[in-house]
């Protein structure tokens, strides 16, 4: 689950990582109320930075970060920025902070690295740019149990010394702490800024929470459905009901049990000249209700001309799938469906389907080729 910058900064603040003072507005009119108030209370001062809050990177390049020297400029900019889409994603709100005098910019992140099989620090003395294009990047494996000296070693590797080393190490400690406490996939500060007064402040923040751990993170309870920008509406709906749907641009709808089998079935469709419309894994042990829900989601896509159902029963009961199919066919009699069903309770499934005259293909390749014929 991707978080907005302001949400990442709130988490940083909860863990005593310094972030700039800010206000957040969702309407341009709020400039005259909220920003005016913040200025008059000396919470913020001009010039200010206005930043689109969007679940995408590359904001600066896309014109999503602007500076305003006074109220008029802020209001004009706010109107435009709130309407801005960045990489097709909508701007949810604007975060307004004082423009900062930057003496030095660092990059600091904690992420889970599958190649190392553990969490790692990524750091660079060249912050403020995309880390992929940075030259002096330090990567450091984080052992378990953690010790604070690991962060000091990291700061030293960035050629920091003395007071600054201690301050940056402190931030790294806190970043790792919150990464673990909140079950994150990524906690990134780019740039971590040292300002004119020598203070170390997180000028930007990016946090990705691990999807599988959300259920044990009360902080994130109920957040997921508002953080699914970038998924189509069908993908969002299916995610909220526990189905794995990824939409593509073809016309052969695909439903299987098991992620690897689903990918292999899509690949086979392409291999034999067809175009998959989606990936949908009904999961192991899907019952009649879940299978029906999955079939409905696939068929909602208007591009889908035929649905290819490939179930190789391990723990999945074929008769449950057959009953779901019968229900589905009765609701959508005109839908073309090609079925390959094999495994537990197969005979029972065949009996159930015989009553609806569904063509069953015991071989996967035959089923795929038939589906491609139907999609023409």
């Amino acid at each position: 689950m991707n978080l907005y910058e302001y949400e990442a900064k709130q988490i940083f603040a909860n863990y005593d990582i310094a972030v700039p003072p800010s206000i957040r507005i969702t309407k341009a009119e709020e400039i005259n109320t909220q920003l005016a108030q913040a200025i008059s209370q000396s919470k913020l001062s001009f010039p200010v930075t206005l930043k689109c809050q969007v679940l995408s990177g590359g904001r600066g390049k896309a014109g999503g970060i602007k500076f305003a020297k006074d109220m008029d400029e802020a209001e004009t900019l706010a109107k435009d920025l709130l309407k801005l889409k960045i990489n097709d994603l909508p701007t949810q709100s604007l975060l307004i902070e004082p423009k900062m005098a930057i003496a030095k910019e660092l990059y600091l992140a904690v992420t889970l690295d599958r190649n190392h099989g553990c969490a790692i620090f990524i750091a660079s003395a060249e912050g403020g740019v995309e880390i992929e294009s940075s030259h002096n990047v330090v990567t450091s494996r984080i052992p378990y149990p953690y010790h604070a000296y690991i962060a000091r070693d990291l700061a030293a590797a960035l050629n920091l010394q003395g007071n600054l080393l201690v301050k940056v190490a402190d931030i790294a400690n806190k970043l790792y702490k919150l990464f673990v406490a909140m079950d994150l996939d990524l906690a990134e500060i780019n740039p971590l800024v040292i300002n004119g007064a020598g203070e170390v402040i997180a000028l930007d923040g990016k946090v990705i929470a691990n999807d599988d751990a959300l259920g044990r993170q009360p902080y994130f309870a109920g957040w997921l459905e508002n953080h699914l920008d970038g998924l189509s509406s069908r993908e969002q709906k299916s995610k909220m009901t526990g189905l794995n749907l990824v939409e593509l641009s073809g016309n052969i709808g695909i439903l299987c049990n098991g992620a690897g089998l689903t990918m292999a079935t899509m690949d086979m469709v392409k291999e034999f000249g067809g175009q998959p419309a989606n990936f949908l894994d009904a999961g192991g042990g899907a019952d009649q209700k879940k299978t029906l829900a999955a079939l409905e989601i696939v068929q909602e896509n208007p591009d889908v001309k035929v649905i290819l159902l490939n179930i190789l029963g391990g723990i999945t009961a074929c008769d449950e799938v057959a009953r779901a199919l019968v229900e589905f066919i009765d609701k959508h009699p005109k839908r073309q469906i090609v079925v390959r069903l094999r495994g537990n309770n197969q005979q029972l499934a065949e009996e159930i389907l015989a009553k609806r005259n569904v063509k069953l293909f015991p071989g996967l390749e035959d089923a795929v080729k038939e589906a491609i014929k139907c999609a023409v």
């Binding site: 889970l112 599958r114 190649n115 099989g117 553990c118 969490a119 992929e132 378990y144 673990v180 079950d183 996939d185 691990n210 999807d211 599988d212 751990a213 259920g215 044990r216 794995n244 990824v246 593509l248 299987c256 049990n257 098991g258 992620a259 690897g260 089998l261 689903t262 990918m263 292999a264 899509m266 690949d267 086979m268 469709v269 392409k270 291999e271 998959p276 990936f279 894994d281 192991g284 042990g285 190789l312 029963g313 391990g314 723990i315 094999r342 495994g343 537990n344 996967l364 390749e365």
Partner: protein
């Protein structure tokens, strides 16, 4: 065959739950030597005739079990695994999907510290056909023979095993290492065991998008594996940046693509099949008639 045979004594953690109970029965039907179930609070109950204990320690003391299969909800799995390791279990098979990766990191480190084996998480388990099935693989699809299988997938593994069995190319042992990005045994460890196993004459490696395990395996195969290897890689049609079901099945930027894996394996002398049926065809080719 590797790691498990008909003598292997297995306990089922989470035996009284729905998944645990269903698969205890299926494993028993297959002939697996299940000696105990463990569910805290259910001491004295039985699951399909198998006695249930409160703790792994008491179960091991009573039965001498050395392997455990874990059917426990995701946020409780790390605790269950730790408990098993602490009680002396040397082979853990974790079926559970959706374990927070930070828990898996700790689990893997503890497994290593205890010099044990972890298969999974998010996996279908391990089967030595006609001897021992630990997990949820459908036993009827497999038959004993010379092909060692290692795979990230569940049902795709069954699809390929089906093709092999129908071509009369039985399996020595099949291990599903699972679809999570951070896991216990990976390809190299399993391939090493197959290489040393006299019953295994050829290997099938089933991979999918995400990470670089297949690329690393390719280098390993080139350097260390003499027996023939046939591979199949799923996910050529997966769009970048999308999690394709498995937590580990995601192309990040241009890393972890199916193309990269197929290229690496081909360069290592591995025959990469385009369909499950083709896997059987290639395996038939690489096996000498004597070995069948």
């Amino acid at each position: 065959m590797i790691l498990v045979n008909k003598e292997t004594k297995v306990i089922v953690q989470g035996a009284t739950g729905k998944m645990g109970a269903t698969h205890t029965k299926l494993m028993l039907n297959y002939g697996t030597n299940i000696v105990a179930g463990v569910t805290p609070g259910k001491h004295g109950e039985t699951v399909h005739g198998v006695p249930v204990y409160d703790t792994v320690k008491t179960a091991v003391k009573a039965t001498g079990a050395t392997a455990s299969v874990i059917f426990v909800p995701p946020y409780l799995t790390y605790d269950a695994a730790s408990e098993a390791l602490n009680a002396g279990i040397k082979l853990l098979v974790v079926i559970t999907e959706g374990i927070p990766p930070l828990d898996t990191v700790k689990m893997v480190q503890e497994v290593k510290a205890n010099q044990a084996y972890l298969i999974g998480p998010n996996c279908p388990g391990i089967i030595t056909p006609e001897q021992c099935l630990i997990g949820i693989l459908p036993g009827s699809i497999f038959k004993a023979g010379p092909v060692g299988m290692v795979s990230k997938s569940g049902t795709l593994t069954y699809e390929i095993a089906l093709a092999l069995t129908e071509a009369n190319l039985g399996q020595s042992t099949c291990i599903g290492v699972g679809g999570d990005p951070i896991k216990g045994m990976d390809y190299e460890e399993v391939l090493t065991l197959f290489e040393k196993d006299p019953a295994t004459k050829a290997m099938v490696l089933i991979g999918e998008i995400g990470g670089n395990a297949e690329e690393e395996a390719a280098l390993f195969i080139k350097a260390k594996i003499k027996k023939p290897v046939v591979a199949f890689i799923a996910g050529q049609t997966a769009p970048p940046g999308k999690r394709m079901g498995h937590a580990g099945a995601i192309v990040s930027g241009n890393k972890g693509t199916a193309e990269s894996k197929i290229e690496a394996l081909t360069a290592a002398g591995v025959k990469v099949a385009h369909t499950p049926a083709q896997v059987a065809s290639y395996v038939g080719q690489v096996l000498t008639p004597v070995a069948r």
